[in-house]
Subunit: 320 residues, 2 copies
């Protein structure tokens, strides 16, 4: 297996996960189109199994394992959505799941993982701490690591969202999705190149976790030691592999402020009537500024997920 | 035109509003099915134009008017969703809309009406005050009253939600919807009788606005002088005409407490990822108690709308 993501891997992922995850619907809104000066097609991954696109990659990785390798189970570290997705996929396959979670993970995301019967280990909210705890679990159990994004099978699964969207909405000009560790945008870029070569792919990222934008603009992989953003799903840092896919297939990474994220999320709730988590609102937040390359275009927007703590909505904090 | 709702009126409504309102999707959730001990099919009217089923009835009434009658515009009094729907339908047809709203109407619902360019008159939050203000407007403008529920064309339009649901999900055993003034349940009952005669129709209502339950159980139309419920869309009282339809075609009206409404609404948000307003959560609140006639059944649940003030969520008030 080569170290870069291929269309073949995405096509295989699509077959493998069919019937195990949803084909999610696409919503549109004249009101939001007017606000952004573009024609937006929202791919609704909050309506995906486990409430996020992560079900795609995790299900692909778990069901691609040989029986022998699968028997000892799977392990991962994740801010939550990948964890719940992996726990669910493991339960579907009947194998154990071991999950390392940062101790600042929102309550709703913890509950989702527990619901699927996974064993949870809490750790400090830093990438090194997460990786350390995962290694310890692997040594103890012999389980297979399914990294939340630095994994070709996971990246391939995430690419199936864009494949569906390109089929559901003909003649898109652009696709935009959020960027955390880069799994979703890698899959999106490779899917677009294979299925709709004229479509330009954009990423969107919080300014407080802007490693992808800085990396793409500087041409060198930049770290993100202390991400600070309400978009808890986007605190991960790019891996060399996802950075390579971004360099190959992504036009630009747009950044947004925390205030823009909260305003955008609220607008999506009010108008689309869909619960979108802060991370999921980031691409729409970028579109609200009507950026030149997207203005007037037919834009596919991947709303990545809808899991969050309803007792701690960001506009409640702001007004308190 | 007879004084009772016919299948013909609903069939005509469906043709008249096609292309002017959405055919809304149906969502399912294994998790919610388990909680209720039934198989639930959620008809997602929060995704309807204006965020509520009210777009159906208002659009039907406005487009059924002759050109001569339409010219002076339309008027109504409404807690909000019907008002926005009427304002939108009038704008689509290019005629004026005059709206009387109780002064405790949630901010989001006021904004929706204003967005469509209707003229708003505020009044005290009581049915007599609303009717008085509407009469004054009619005298001044010559506009046609489109009552929020005591109107055959409105009732017929609301019935199209059930028609779609019965086509989208074969072999339902039951339908359940919220009951305010009774427009939606009247349309639902007549649609079910015509299209799927074996399907039993239930209503659900807050205990704090339980005029429909008391009326059905006593066999006489009961008033509801001081409704008290978080479900602001269900504060209206039955009209003789909607009561007659309920007596003819509704199996039972179930009631729920305020706490049950808030819990149900929150669960729908967390699991379905759909913004459902308190009124819309009332049928699901009733289903959570796994009532005997619905237990184990295939139940179509009409989630009526998704408009509410995100600054005043009911669980925020409870915790403050």
């Amino acid at each position: 297996m080569s170290d870069s993501l291929s269309w073949t891997l995405i096509a295989q992922a699509r077959e493998r996960i069919a019937g195990r995850v949803h084909q999610t619907p696409v919503l549109t809104s004249c009101a939001l189109d007017e606000l952004c000066g573009a024609q937006l097609f929202f791919k609704c991954e909050p309506l995906q199994k486990c409430g996020a696109f992560k079900a795609r990659g995790a299900t692909n990785a778990v069901f691609a394992l040989g029986d022998e390798a699968a028997r000892s189970g799977v392990v991962t570290h994740s801010s939550g959505n990948h964890a719940a997705a992996l726990a669910r996929a493991a339960r579907l396959r009947g194998i154990p799941a071991y999950i390392v979670m940062p101790d600042n993970t929102p309550r709703a995301k913890r509950a989702a993982v527990a619901r699927y019967g996974a064993e949870i280990t809490y750790c400090e909210a830093s990438l090194p701490a997460r990786e350390r705890a995962a290694r310890a679990l692997i040594e103890r159990t012999g389980a297979v690591l399914v990294h939340p994004y630095d994994d070709l099978l996971v990246m391939a699964g995430q690419g199936t969202a864009a494949v569906e969207l390109l089929e559901q909405v003909p003649q898109l000009d652009c696709l935009i999705c959020p960027v955390g560790g880069g799994g979703l945008i890698s899959g999106t870029a490779v899917a677009a190149r294979a299925r709709a070569p004229g479509v330009r792919v954009f990423g969107a990222e919080p300014l407080g976790a802007d490693d992808a934008a800085r990396s793409l603009h500087s041409g060198e992989l930049q770290g993100m030691p202390q991400p600070k953003t309400v978009a808890d799903g986007l605190r991960g840092a790019l891996a060399p592999r996802t950075f390579a896919e971004i360099q190959r297939g992504v036009e630009d990474i747009l950044t947004v402020t925390e205030e823009e994220i909260v305003t955008a999320m609220r607008e999506l709730w009010e108008v689309l009537k869909l619960i979108v988590e802060p991370s999921g609102a980031v691409p729409y937040a970028a579109l609200r500024a009507s950026p030149a390359p997207l203005r007037g275009r037919r834009v596919g927007v991947i709303l990545s997920g809808g899991n969050l703590d309803l007792d701690a909505l960001p506009w409640m904090a702001a007004s308190a």
